[in-house]
């Protein structure tokens, strides 16, 4: 029997993320962020990529991604139905869950219910298997489990983290860095508990305290200190002397020199403090903003010594040490 899958991204209305019916965003950062929080990368990979990998692992070839609204789900369903698919795996991106999808599908077949929903102690996980005959737009949305009729509950007791707030995002980053979940950082391990993506450029004086993660193409200038329990995602630019501790910096963020970022999440020009829940607009102080690739490279060019300009004096403005991000050789038994 053909199985199709669609992944539904929680609706973004006025920048907010809708996880439950009439749910309000839990933080100001969720309102101001460019992407809904399930699409915030966790150590180089976001929930969408994570679930798509899992779905591909099932051997499912037909897969669609849409918004978690009935109209979108209906369109996806009618497209799938035309292709003769009989069952649909519906994943609403609301949680990182280490579900074994093969076992989930097997459970659905065995129970012979038209709908199977994965749940844990706290409720639905947003993963549902629906038979073609039982499909309704409401059946697609993880927020609308009432009125589904007969459905089986697949109880999951493994690792789950719901991406409901910046705090839960931060918890997931910490758990991944500590190795409490199966989520692996994208990149190579450059030291004990330190990971770096491709194309990272950092000054020799940068201090990385394990566990921490630096995403691809990020630039860390002199005396920047990262970690512990911190992640700087891809394409960021962290200026001299800034300290990032127990915090996450989302992609394409620029942080000015000399800052002390602690227990916070930074998304471009906004910083949310996890303990107080306060969001600070860094643009008001000129301390942070969003940088595109071009902007980041412009910074980079400005800081690099110009080729052929003047005598060949070693410019120290931006002392890059590409060696520091080489994968560390795994220590094995000595012969």
């Amino acid at each position: 029997m053909e199985l199709g899958a669609f992944v539904l991204i929680p609706q973004v209305s006025e920048g907010s993320v809708r996880f439950r019916r009439n749910a309000k965003p839990t933080s100001q950062l969720q309102q101001t962020a460019v992407y809904p929080s399930p699409l915030w990368p966790v150590l180089g990979k976001n929930l969408l990529q994570h679930w798509m990998e899992k779905i591909r692992g099932l051997g499912i070839q037909v897969m669609s991604v849409g918004e978690d609204i009935p109209a979108s789900a209906e369109t996806l369903f009618s497209n799938f139905a035309r292709q003769g698919l009989e069952r649909f795996l519906v994943v609403c991106l609301k949680a990182y869950a280490e579900i074994d999808l093969t076992d989930f599908v097997r459970f659905h077949r065995e129970t012979c219910n038209p709908i199977t929903e994965a749940i844990d102690q706290e409720g639905p996980l947003g993963v549902r298997l629906v038979d073609r005959g039982s499909f309704s737009p409401g059946a697609s949305c993880a927020s609308e489990s009432e009125g589904l009729g007969r459905f089986a509950e697949y109880r999951f007791a493994g690792y789950v983290k719901r991406m409901m707030s910046p705090q839960s995002y931060s918890d997931l980053v910490s758990d991944a860095l500590k190795g409490r979940c199966a989520l692996q950082p994208v990149g190579s391990q450059v030291g004990e508990g330190v990971w770096a993506g491709e194309g990272v450029r950092m000054a020799r004086s940068v201090r990385l305290s394990a566990p921490c993660y630096v995403g691809s193409n990020t630039i860390l200038r002199d005396c920047v200190s990262i970690g512990p329990f911190s992640s700087v995602e891809n394409n960021c630019f962290i200026d001299c002397g800034t300290t990032i501790e127990s915090s996450s910096v989302l992609p394409q963020s620029f942080l000015a020199a000399g800052l002390n970022v602690r227990r916070s999440i930074v998304d471009g020009p906004y910083l949310e403090h996890l303990d107080s829940g306060t969001t600070v607009d860094l643009r008001a102080f000129g301390l942070g903003r969003r940088v595109g690739n071009e902007g980041r490279m412009r910074f980079d060019r400005r800081l690099r010594p110009q080729a052929g300009s003047g005598p060949a004096t070693p410019a120290r403005a931006f002392d890059v040490d590409p060696i520091s991000v080489r994968p560390k050789a795994v220590a094995g038994p000595q012969p």
């Binding site: 000399g258 800052l259 002390n260 970022v261 602690r262 916070s264 910083l271 403090h273 107080s276 829940g277 306060t278 600070v280 008001a284 102080f285 000129g286 301390l287």
Partner: protein, 143 residues
């Protein structure tokens, strides 16, 4: 004796004006300097009102106040009731230079504790509140 001891133990709480720019800010700093100069062992808590406009100029102003007070060997702390202010002060590392508290009472209690035995007497006077945000007529003439 009592008077001398009370002045010795005094921790002055000064409320920072909401918009400390221009002459208001200058008058405030002058008043702060005068207050600190009159104290035997100066200790000042700069209390930020929750409506305080915290921007780059305001951060400069706070550092200027701290410099002014430090010129008279004063201990300086900041009492910021707003969490937003505390986050900015921490982010900019000002809180690592000037101890930051969530209320003036907390700041005074901590400063009293740090200042040692003769000050932390049971019957030590309550911290005095000084308002320096309005320039006096004489100061206005000088500005």
């Amino acid at each position: 004796m009592t008077d001398s001891r009370s002045r010795y133990s005094e921790v002055v709480v000064v409320r920072v004006p909401e918009r400390p720019e221009g002459r208001v800010g200058r008058a405030f700093r002058r008043g702060l300097r005068r207050t600190v100069a009159q104290m035997l062992r100066p200790a000042v808590v700069l209390e930020l009102p929750s409506t305080f406009q915290l921007d780059n100029e305001a951060l400069d102003f706070l550092l200027g106040c701290a410099r002014e007070a430090a010129g008279h060997d004063a201990e300086v702390a900041i009492a910021a009731t707003s969490a937003h202010h505390r986050v900015v002060l921490e982010l900019t590392r000002i809180s690592s230079v000037l101890p930051t508290f969530s209320s003036s009472e907390e700041a005074v209690a901590c400063m009293d504790k740090d200042r040692g035995s003769p000050i932390a007497a049971k019957d030590s006077p309550a911290p005095s509140m000084v308002t320096l945000d309005a320039p006096t007529t004489q100061e206005r003439g000088l500005l």
